[in-house]
Amino acid sequence: MALFLQNLVNALQWGSFYALIALGYSMVYSILMLFNFAHGDIFMVGAYIGVGVAFVLIAMASQGALALPPWAILILTILFAMILTSFVGMLVERIGYRPLRAAPRASAAITGLMIGIILETGNLALLGARRIRFPSLIDTTVYEVGGVFITNTKIIIVVVALLLATAMHLFVRKTKWGLAMRAMAFDYVAVPLMGVSVNAIAALTFALGSALAAAAGILYALAYPVLDPYMGILFGWKAFVAAILGGRGSVMGATLAGFLLGFIEIFAAMIFPSSLRDLIAYSIVLLILIVRPHGFFGEPYSARLRL
């Protein structure tokens, strides 16, 4: 039982990252119907920006220019990094996606892929191949509850991830901008005629998605403080799986699917020999899609998708 509970905790943490990245992926995917293959690399950029911001804040705090407790520095780091990364996201949209608005979706996917490679290689050329350690903003404390080990970082990660997912859900459901986004997802042709600017909505979508990726990047760096330029690739592709598993047009679906993917990976390694983890995990994904060909919350395929 302790084994199961322990892995439940592990899976919650691991799923949080998938959920947050899948959420950002799903925003772009649902509203603009684009595969944003650069998303994993925006996650990487977010983590690196986070390192920069954290270093600046720590330096300021140590010089006395800024009297703040560590948790406040963490919150500020996340906020600043989210804002800065959202600009990166908008830039990516402006350069890579806007000129291709009328093009087949797959072409935009390829530009995304290429922008991702440029972000990776650019980072490599700029900062060198050295791995960077994320500064430890808060000391990790380990709690033991009935044989289950929990750390304060794990709690922070899961709580922040859930908060952000809920906030995003509320934003899409309750605000006017959210309404415009949902409308855009519903009908790509008619909504601009109603006076909603496609470009504004696209930029907003990318900004929000990238901000979420940045948050995920910093939370990730808290738990796994070793950063390198290629850290986002595999994450990006797996979050792509989660986003689509959730179903098109569903913020909650993507979040749940992200957690589900985390659970599948963790429990596959628990039950089966861990060398078979990917084999089992992706066979399960395959089976899910055979049983539910349109993900969990997605609508059946319609000819309306412009491929």
Partner: protein
């Protein structure tokens, strides 16, 4: 005025003329290439038209440029232009025979040119073989992503299956191996059975494609994309866990049977078969399924059968290409068939152009040669190539040569002056 006339003159050169001119240029390179290169201050014959050399040592750029001008550009232009009339007549004569004869003659000249050109350097030979294999892979992916309009990510997986099946067969049957024991068949039989082995690899790969093809009956687009992605992860993980084929360590020691003639022949067969396939009724059905599945059903297209054939056919050729790849590299490991390979193949398909045999050839050759030529830039190579691709996508969203039919007869036929051609049209 003068310039336009020159260009119009070149537009009259048939393919045969260009091929023969290239052949002569290569002969020229063999005869005087080395002394010319040395006298121009180059260390040796510039291997890929001087690009590598010029990027590495900019001082050598003029030498390389003069070399390319003297050996390739001028002779080819001259011969093509002056021999245009002769070539047109010859091409016309050839077309009087069945098309196959004309194709064979053209391919023969082309092959001899390539053979001589690559004979000057092992590096050229290797690059050429990998490029031809890339053409096969790109073309087969274009069947799914271009003609059928899906976004399939499983091609590295298909390649891996073909590569491993073919490797296990050749190693098991024809070499002494630690795990598989001594050779079962005499080595002399090897080159004869090699095509069969490649076909078996392709067939197994096609069977594995059922995993992606069957779900495609009920879903498509995005959902199919991740099914195919999951397939790729599964294949990679499966091979990593199969210790009998070396697991993550890979499998080496394949016999050296995939020389230029073999690879060239397979590429030609692949282009020919795929081109015929996409121009057949079934190929048109693929397009119909892509454009509107319901309408296609209404027009009595059996969509399931069409999708199934499309997937299995593409996977077959990816498997054959994988088998060849393994025997050129003479080593395979599961890590080769991962996300990196996927990005590479996708880039080739979309760079070249969707729904087009021409496009796949252009894309595969373009990206392969660019990747080699920009080697001296090291890290910046992977900034320049993606930038180039983004530009292509922005200005030609479906790729460089998309939606263009590849008609051998139109390509091989003699070229007459467009104006005279119009006059010669029967009136009324």
């Amino acid at each position: 005025m003068e310039l336009r006339g020159t260009i119009r003159g070149f537009s009259r050169v048939p393919l045969l003329g260009w091929l023969v001119a290239a052949f002569v240029a290569v002969l020229l390179e063999i005869a005087v290439g080395t002394p010319l290169a040395l006298s121009l201050g180059l260390p040796k014959i510039p291997v890929l038209f001087g690009v590598i050399l010029a990027l590495k040592k900019p001082l050598l750029f003029p030498g390389a440029a003069v070399y390319v001008l003297l050996i390739y550009a001028l002779p080819i232009a001259l011969i093509a232009r002056l021999g245009a009339g002769l070539a047109n007549r010859a091409a016309g004569r050839l077309l009087a025979f069945p098309l196959l004869v004309s194709v064979a003659v053209h391919l023969g000249v082309f092959y001899i040119t390539l053979e001589l050109w690559s004979g000057l350097s092992d590096y050229r030979d290797l690059v050429l073989r990998f490029t031809l294999i890339a053409v096969m892979v790109t073309l087969s992916l274009n069947v799914i992503n271009g003609y059928m309009g899906e976004f399939s990510c499983s091609h590295p997986g298909f390649m891996a299956v073909g590569a491993y099946v073919a490797s296990v067969l050749t190693i098991d049957l024809f070499t002494n191996h630690r795990v598989f024991g001594s050779a079962l068949l005499p080595a002399a039989l090897g080159p004869l059975t090699f095509p069969l082995i490649l076909i078996i690899g392709g067939l197994v790969s096609a069977m594995s494609a059922l995993v992606v093809a069957i779900p495609s009956f009920r879903t498509r687009g995005d959902y199919l994309a991740i099914i195919s992605l999951a397939f790729m992860f599964i294949v990679k993980s499966l091979i990593e866990n199969l210790d009998i084929v070396g697991g993550a360590r890979g499998l080496g020691g394949q016999p050296d049977w995939a020389g230029l003639p073999t690879v060239f022949l397979w590429t030609v067969v692949c282009v020919w078969v795929i081109n015929n396939f996409v121009r057949s009724t079934l190929g048109k059905a693929l397009n119909a399924v892509r454009d509107n599945e319901m309408a296609a059903t209404a027009m009595t297209v059996d969509t399931r059968y069409t999708k199934m054939v499309g997937f299995l056919f593409a996977a077959f050729w990816a498997g054959v290409a994988g088998g060849l790849f393994a025997h050129v590299l003479r080593y395979v490991n599961p890590g080769t068939f991962g996300i990196q390979k996927l990005a590479e193949v996708l880039a080739m398909v979309y760079f070249g152009g969707l729904n087009s045999v021409y496009g796949s050839i252009v894309g595969a050759v373009g990206i392969s040669l660019l990747g080699e030529a920009l080697r001296p830039l090291e890290i910046f190579k992977w900034i320049i190539i993606p930038l180039l691709l983004i530009l292509v996508m922005i200005y030609r969203p479906t790729g460089l040569v998309a939606f263009k039919e590849f008609d051998p007869e139109a390509i091989l036929k003699p070229k007459t002056d467009p104006e005279r051609e119009r006059d010669a049209l029967p009136q009324g």
